[in-house]
């Protein structure tokens, strides 16, 4: 039964394949964790896909969106599927850091560039033969960390307590901070870890209180960044609280309420767009994105969506260059696309300005961050 149908199926498949190449279409796979624990990140990313450029020069761009349910194994399956079945020219995603780490090996094997909108710098650092296929559309932790440390030095903070999640995000921050604080002459007096799902961090907070640091930095992605913060405040901690860009979510304000007033963090300018001077190159790009997103979905996007949007902008700029070297769907095109992405210079996007080099596949500089504080329940530019 099945065998009889096989020749017809093969013929059909060949036909579609030919039809596909005849249209000179670029295929981009998107993997977003629109369900599962990372859904808070993945949903704005999935919602951003319809806003990505569909026509670049003479080429049309088709986006194939898959959900990995926040599961790293499912991400790898999705990546393999996109590579072997859809023969995509580039991949945007996955949403989670561990998920992206797992996918690197496979995109490198297939020679397909991957634009990962993930938090951890580990996907592009240290640069290896495999990671040269990966580009990261978020600020590296150290760019954010430098800004925080600069502020700490300026305000005379000498001792720091760290509390972070026991996952790659928290681990990497602990590493980055250990290096940078030493240079700045700040001493880390307590390093505590907690789980994303913990219902109480009293023990860790007591330990930090006992060490009496001048300031405390919470390094946790998303909603879990609130619990250590409010626990410390409840226990009467009076020092300055710092947060990372992982906390830069509406949820942080909603869950934290009055207790997170006065927090200082460094993050993307999207949070305080109205206060940014018009001279900032990213202001217009970000405002356009937010307006388009709001029109389509009826609410403002979280910054995670902008990371995917930036990936689209990077591709938009690189695809015409790559098209001179080969036809979409071929290995030459994908390789040329990677080279073109690596040579991105002064590309203004929603989060900042990208300047890629062979060593730096994230490409942000100090224009990719602003200092922000919480005042009267909203984000305010720190002046």
């Amino acid at each position: 039964m099945m065998l009889k149908k096989l020749p017809a199926a093969v013929a059909l498949a060949t036909l579609t394949a030919f039809a596909g190449s005849a249209f000179a279409q670029v295929k981009v796979g998107v993997i977003a964790s629109s369900t599962g624990p990372t859904a808070l990140v993945g949903i704005p990313q999935k919602n951003t896909v319809p806003l990505l450029p569909t026509k670049v020069g003479d080429l049309t761009v088709e986006y194939i969106t898959l959900d990995d349910a926040s599961d790293s194994t499912a991400s790898v399956t999705a990546v393999k599927k996109l590579l072997s079945e859809q023969k995509v020219d580039a991949i945007i995603g996955p949403s989670g850091s561990p998920n992206a780490m797992g996918a690197i090996q496979f995109v490198a094997e297939a020679g397909t560039p991957m634009l990962a909108p993930v938090g951890t710098a580990a996907v592009v650092l240290p640069m290896t033969e495999q990671k040269k296929w990966v580009f990261k559309t978020t600020q590296n932790d150290d760019i954010i960390a430098e800004a925080l440390i600069e502020h700490m030095s300026k305000t005379g903070i000498k001792t720091l307590g760290l509390i972070g999640t026991a996952d790659p995000y928290g681990e990497n921050w602990a590493k980055v901070m250990a290096g940078l604080t030493e240079k700045a002459g700040i001493k880390i007096v307590a390093t505590e870890k907690f789980q994303r799902s913990d219902s109480s961090v009293t023990g860790q907070a007591l330990k930090i209180l006992g060490a009496k640091p001048d300031a405390v930095l919470v390094t946790a992605p998303g909603g879990p960044s609130v619990l250590p913060h409010t626990t410390l405040v409840d226990m009467g901690y009076k020092g300055q609280m710092y947060q990372t860009h992982g906390a830069a979510l509406p949820d942080f304000l909603k869950l934290g309420g009055k207790k997170v007033e006065g927090t200082i963090l460094a993050a993307s300018l999207m949070l305080v767009l109205d206060e940014m001077p018009d001279s900032n190159p990213s202001k217009k790009v970000a405002a356009d994105y937010i307006a388009a997103y709001e029109k389509m979905h009826g609410h403002k996007p979280a910054t995670f969506g902008a990371n995917v949007y930036d990936a689209g902008l990077l591709l938009q700029q690189a695809i015409p260059l790559a098209a001179q070297k080969g036809k979409p769907g071929t290995a030459e095109f994908r390789s040329a696309l990677r080279d073109a992405l690596e040579q991105t210079k002064e590309l203004v996007a929603t989060q900042g300005v990208y300047n890629m080099t062979p060593a730096d596949h994230s490409g942000f500089d100090e224009r990719g961050r602003v200092m922000i504080t919480v005042k009267d329940g909203t984000w305010k530019l720190l002046k």
Binding site: A39, E192, S197, S200, V226, L255
Partner: protein
């Protein structure tokens, strides 16, 4: 470590431990009566907390439509079963009531000024919405395979857990929620101030345990459940319906879990998938009780809470490792000291 720190940690541990104890008791109750390891129990903790949060935000929780969907499925299953048994489509008034209940409640919810209701009414409404899901879950997923081996029931439990977490994401969305505390006051005890919510958690837990004890010792329904737990076939021969026992145990377990969710929602942020890890810690408690003893299970769960609090202070990186490793010595001790009884299949 001084006395003050020990007291704060102890308070924290006992608060969480009390919640774990309630869940341990529910798991034990369901297991002894129906042999189901009720993994989805944690979901009802999250449902309770998030429904309460939805009320306080002035929104009618969409969960009521899940209850309605389940009610329709239950009615269909009942009709099919009656057709298969007697060849006729019979629909009793109790079944009709069960079918219409969520729709009436849903309509009422959309009419009420939810955010302005007193907290006690909000709690009752939360229970009214979430608790029917328990018996419905039993009717739909466990009753048709009630006599299957424990392993199959366990696999079904895992499937139901995964499905409910997925539905929870749809119903409540990915963001977490925290509710207002029952009261703001605190109680000074020596060097520390006891949080009022802590007192609520402990008081409600103790009250529930006493009520449950009275229920099982004094009432005919409680005795029927106990009889089923001790000897299923014997109880059936005495006229105790296993379907009734199953539904009653699921009802009680869901009630306790939902109440636990309402109790901890002011203390911590609850996400749609937070329930699982909380019930897993209750599960460790019930393992310590050997899945038979209620008092040891409750004590075990409090031990888990305390251990968690103190290990978070001493070695926060290894907290989870320490808590879950606790299960191994207890399993060893249990399997070495107690004569193993093969389950009759």
């Amino acid at each position: 470590m001084n006395l003050q720190i020990a007291m704060i940690l102890g308070q924290d541990g006992i608060t969480n431990g009390a919640i774990y104890a309630l869940l341990a008791l529910s798991i034990l109750l369901v297991f002894t009566v129906t042999r189901v390891l009720f993994i989805p129990l944690g979901e009802f903790v999250a449902f309770g907390a998030l429904t309460m949060a939805a009320f306080q935000a002035g929104k009618a929780p969409a969960l009521i439509w899940l209850v309605a969907g389940f009610a329709v499925a239950v009615a269909t299953a009942d009709l099919l079963a009656s057709y298969r048994n007697s060849g006729r489509l019979r629909f009793s008034s109790a079944q009709a009531l069960r079918l219409t209940y969520p729709f009436v409640l849903g309509y009422a919810l959309y009419q009420m000024p939810l955010a302005d209701l007193p907290m006690s009414v909000q709690v009752l409404l939360t229970l009214a919405i979430v608790v029917p899901l328990g018996p419905q879950t039993y009717r739909l997923f466990y009753q048709p395979i009630a006599s299957a081996p424990v392993l199959i029931l366990l696999i079904v439990s895992i499937a139901v857990h995964v499905a409910l977490v997925g539905l929870a994401l749809l119903v409540f969305g990915p963001s977490g929620a925290k509710t207002a505390p029952f009261s703001e006051a605190g109680l000074a005890l020596g060097p520390i101030t006891l949080n009022s919510q802590t007192l609520w958690v402990i008081a409600v837990s103790i009250a529930l345990i006493i009520v449950l004890y009275q229920f099982f010792e004094r009432t005919i329904y409680g005795k029927a459940l106990r009889a089923t737990a001790i000897n299923r076939v014997g109880a059936q021969l005495m006229g105790i319906s296993p379907v009734f026992a199953g539904k009653a145990s699921f009802f009680l377990a869901t009630l306790i879990a939902t109440l636990s969710g309402v109790l901890i929602a002011p203390i911590t942020t609850i996400y749609y998938d937070s329930g699982f890890i909380i019930s897993l810690k209750g599960f460790i408690g019930s393992i310590i009780g050997g899945l038979v003893s209620y008092p040891i299970a409750a004590l075990g769960a409090v031990l888990v809470g305390l251990l968690e609090a103190f290990s978070a202070f001493w070695a926060s990186t290894y907290k989870e490792v320490i808590v879950f490793t606790l299960i191994i010595p207890f399993l060893l001790w249990r399997s070495l000291t107690i004569r193993h009884v093969e389950e009759e299949e």
